[in-house]
């Protein structure tokens, strides 16, 4: 990753033939500007960029902590093993399905809720607060809550509600579902959708509330229907917020570890790439292969991140205009 700290050359455009004295003053003025920035910049480079360089190097090495003598250069073997291994390929697929499902469903729900919250009604503040709450439960705690208090086949809330409803209609034979075993991936996705919908809702609501309302009111007076206003005015305005919410959400959900680790421990075919890497490294101690898988995740994320950065910079340019 390139770092853009300028070296040399004045910020005010070098004037040809400037005396050495003004040159020196200009340089010291630049360093006084850079000074406050440097600690944060150097810290970030050392702590976040160096490890990735090491990971990249390790991904081309034959390195398993159980066989320390066999350490050496391995070429692309690790990558071949990662990409041909059935379980890793499955993990890549799981990661894509998990991320896409969670992000799309929470975007849709978030948009619906944001539209509901955009209008005035009694207790709007309270409803907004209730809707933010799921995002503010510690992820591990949320995963435990879904696994034990909601999904548990014997006494979880979901089966409990089924029993209550069936009893209400005089049946003593309610359907009881083993939610996690029958639909492990959906079980994880549901808990994540519950946590991420508030995130999407907040960003989309901010987008909705920045609409130019006078224009919309003018369109209404000209006889535009609610659907037309939504389709041709609200939605185009909301698009960049949808993109931003979706991309930021993807970046977080791709990395999800807590829910997979807690709800299924990666079992029942739910192991995603972060969990697989964790296992390859933590249990199997195959450093080379874990690093190669890590590089694969980085490449995948860079694809999303490029779009994300572009969206952010569009918003950013509009803001600084």
């Amino acid at each position: 990753m390139s770092v853009a700290v300028d070296t040399g050359q004045s910020s005010h455009g070098a004037v040809a033939g400037a005396s050495p004295q003004t040159d020196r003053r200009r340089r010291s003025e630049q360093w006084s500007r850079r000074g406050p920035l440097l600690p944060a910049l150097i810290f970030t480079i050392v702590v976040t960029q160096l490890p990735f360089v090491v990971t990249l190097v390790t991904s081309f090495m034959n390195w398993n902590a159980y066989y320390p003598k066999e350490r050496g250069f391995a070429g692309v073997t690790n990558f071949r093993r990662v990409l041909t291994n059935v379980s890793t390929r499955h993990a890549i697929l799981t990661t894509i399905v998990l991320t896409a499902t969670v992000v799309l469903v929470s975007l849709l729900l978030g948009m619906g809720i944001a539209l509901l919250l955009d209008r005035k009604f009694f207790g709007r503040g309270a409803v907004r607060t209730m809707l933010i709450a799921p995002f503010l439960v510690v992820p591990v705690a949320a995963a435990l809550l879904w696994k034990h208090a909601l999904y548990n086949p014997q006494y979880g809330l979901f089966n409990g509600l089924l029993t209550s409803v069936w009893r209400l209609f005089g049946s003593n034979n309610p359907p009881q579902v083993d939610w996690i075993t029958s639909q492990p991936l959906i079980a994880i996705e549901a808990s994540l959708v519950w946590q991420w919908t508030p995130f999407m809702m907040l960003i989309l609501l901010a987008g909705l509330q920045s609409r130019p309302l006078d224009i919309i009111e003018a369109a209404r007076l000209d006889g535009a229907s609610s659907w037309q206003v939504f389709r041709y005015m609200t939605f185009p305005h909301l698009r960049q917020y949808l993109e931003l919410a979706g991309l930021l959400g993807s970046i977080y959900v791709v990395q999800n570890f807590d829910a997979v680790f807690t709800i299924t421990s990666g079992g029942l075919g739910t192991a995603n790439l972060p969990y697989t890497i964790y296992q390859t490294f933590y249990n199997a101690h195959d450093y080379g292969r874990a690093s190669a898988a890590g590089v694969v995740v980085v490449i995948g994320t860079i694809l999303i991140a490029t779009f994300a950065l572009r969206t952010v910079s569009t918003l950013f340019r509009e803001e600084s205009r």
């Binding site: 600690p39 970030t44 209730m130 510690v138 705690a141 208090a149 931003l244």
Partner: protein, 297 residues
């Protein structure tokens, strides 16, 4: 303020738009309001259920159908804080507090000067620097895990809270720089110019002019960094074992006991989530700005 939030005379138009509503729309509005309430309640239901279960005894927590009206007790909390597993949660909670608070302070100490150099008195190519910070946030944590683990092993920093503090600082620094920059650009240039004309030095300008304007922003940034550090599991799980174990790691190891444990788990989940819920509601207004890295206000 940004041009995104600043869209002309919103208040006036909103008020005007509300007034001439026809009754037909009012009924629609009522239905939509009720729908919003129902959706809100559905989303908060799992949390209410968790709270109710945590206040039940283990036997009434584990019934099917659920026993809503069972007697309330603090037994679950009592067991969480002591007797149940034989291990007290306090060391983990204290570790979490230490890691979150100290890393948040470090983040602010690094981010505020950096944000200053990217807004009020910008360096050349400040946008590039800003986007460099953002790009580090987008690289998956898991890919850097192994080198960090190996380094910690060599440096004897495994199971040491200092390592977590450093990592959480790096994890939150980009968010804080972006947030703080978005607050600092809102300081009007005229005020700064006036201060320097009146002969105020840099320190005095920062302390008496800039600080009062951006202090709500600093508070919001701090709360959001605190939340992210408190929630973190992967690093803590891999890099700590007993001495530096944090609260989320403690939670993952909590459900090992035999027998009924639902009330205890719910009590544990609530206690561990409480600081985040408080911090989150305190920062509610600025939450979007933090979560979108300052891109949306």
């Amino acid at each position: 303020m940004s041009s995104i939030t600043q869209t002309g005379p919103i208040p006036a138009t909103r008020a005007a738009a509300g007034a001439p509503r026809r009754p037909r729309r009012n009924r629609g509005g009522f239905v939509l309001g009720v729908t919003a309430w129902v959706v809100g309640l559905l989303f908060v239901l799992p949390i209410l259920w968790m709270l109710l279960t945590s206040l039940h005894s283990e036997t009434s927590a584990a019934t099917n159908p659920p026993s809503l009206g069972a007697a309330l007790t603090l037994q679950g909390y009592r067991e969480f804080f002591g007797s149940a597993t034989g291990t007290s949660p306090w060391p983990s909670l204290l570790n979490s507090i230490t890691a979150s608070v100290l890393s948040t302070i470090l983040v602010l100490l690094l981010a505020i000067p950096a944000a200053y150099a990217l807004s009020i008195r910008p360096v050349r190519k400040w946008t590039d620097v800003l986007f460099f910070f953002l790009s580090t946030k987008m690289l998956p944590v898991v890919a850097g895990l192994l080198p960090i683990y190996l380094f910690a092993q060599r440096a004897r920093l495994l199971d040491n809270i200092v390592l977590l503090i450093v990592l959480y600082t790096a994890m939150n620094l980009p968010i804080a720089v972006w947030m703080m920059r978005s607050f600092l650009v809102e300081v009007p240039k005229e005020i700064l110019e006036a201060a320097s004309m009146d002969g105020a030095g840099l320190t005095r300008t920062l302390r008496s002019v800039v600080a009062p304007i951006v202090s709500p922003g600093i508070a919001a940034t701090a709360l959001i960094c605190f939340i992210f550090s408190w929630n973190e599991l992967l690093f803590a799980r891999v890099l700590t074992s007993t001495a530096a174990q944090t609260a989320p790691v403690f939670l993952t190891g909590f459900v090992t006991s035999q027998g009924l444990f639902l009330a205890k788990v719910c009590a544990a989940a609530i206690v561990v989530s409480l600081p985040v819920l408080i911090a989150g509601f305190a920062a509610q207004d600025k939450l979007v700005q933090g979560l979108s890295l300052g891109a949306v206000k």
